[in-house]
Homo-oligomer: 189 residues x 2
DNA sequence: TCCATCTTTGAGTGTACGCTACATTTCATC
DNA sequence: GATGAAATGTAGCGTACACTCAAAGATGGA
């Protein structure tokens, strides 16, 4: 499937339409008709390239989950402030993808154990990364304590991100900055 | 509508069935047939008492949201620890309803501005309540600073709650306890 | 007991959905 | 330009859903 140039382009138009619909209308608004209309493609073409509607949705969602992770190259070197900053940027600048991610994690993850598992796994990877940064920040910490702090910090960031997505006037960056030790009450941009 | 005794009883059977379905099958499993079967009622009876399926679902969720707040009579007296405890209890003990609440707040709020507004409003009321508690805990705080801390605290609780709902092994209460100043590292139950 | 009013029933309506069948057109290769 | 594979558009299938309606039954004040 999708061996020729046009087929590949069509596939991308479909994914793009699906992504857009997911972020703007939510998972309930993603009907086959909506996708094919948005992509200017017939239903037959769709099923020539994807096995089911879910398959296209999953593809988009998979990309969204991966996009949460900040700059994979920086593993083991970035500071807490870097990680927090990357998370905030993801939530505010890439808000359509962030919306999809949260909608998926909450909307489907809470009922579908398979999705819940995926979300939890990627969450744990992020916790490890934050815990490492905590240890670098304060080497006297026990590994357990670092993990605990990472867990709370990520939970806070997720909650703040949720507020930001629901309320456009919410200044997520300012609040998030307060989570980083040593950065308290600084007003620098 | 529902002026006679039987009508009132039917209404309650329907709400009860809806509540049960919401918590056991999730919002997607709540079909009219499921509700009316579960309540042993014809579709016509349902529409004699409710204007739409959404109306019944909303009623159940509204009741659930009210249950989040600990003892509304105690406004202005409960401590931070009380408030945190009530939130944790809601998330862990009433987890089916908490699931629905989060699913609705996030799943719908992210796409429907009207719902987003409702969620933000009820969130702000809770923030005020937490801010008051912060001020009582530490009267030297400015109102602004108290609100800021309340905001972050609630975000953290929401995030931790999400983790708890996604991952059954997650100990939300232990993590939440660390958010309350002065409670650090205590292990008392 | 009567009877106006409230309540229940469930077959039926319209609609939206995911998906398929298939005839037609476009594409890459020779 | 002939060929076969790939890609496309459309009409429509079956299903599931929320919701309606007319007729029958239950209720309770007089």
């Amino acid at each position: 499937m999708a061996r020729y140039r046009v087929g590949i382009e069509t596939r991308e138009r479909i994914l793009s339409a699906t992504r857009r619909l997911l972020s703007e209308v939510g998972i309930e608004g993603v009907t086959l008709k909506a996708i094919t209309d948005q992509a200017s493609v017939g239903a037959g073409s769709f099923y020539n390239l994807f096995g089911s509607k879910e398959e296209a949705v999953f593809e988009v969602v998979r990309e969204a989950i991966e996009a949460v992770d900040p700059d994979p190259e920086g593993v083991g070197t970035d500071t807490l402030a870097d990680l927090v900053d990357a998370f905030v940027t993801f939530m505010t600048d890439s808000s359509p993808i962030a919306r999809i991610y949260l909608q998926l994690a909450v909307g489907r993850g809470l009922t579908d154990p398979a999705i819940a598992h995926r979300v939890v796994r990627s969450h744990q990877r992020r916790v490890e990364r934050f815990a490492d940064a905590w240890l670098r920040e304060d080497p006297s910490l026990s590994e357990q304590e670092a993990t605990r702090r990472a867990e709370v910090m990520l939970a806070s960031l997720t909650g703040l991100g949720l507020s930001a997505l629901l309320d456009e006037t919410f200044d997520m960056r300012a609040h998030a900055r307060e989570l980083v030790p040593g950065a308290r009450s600084t007003t620098e941009g």
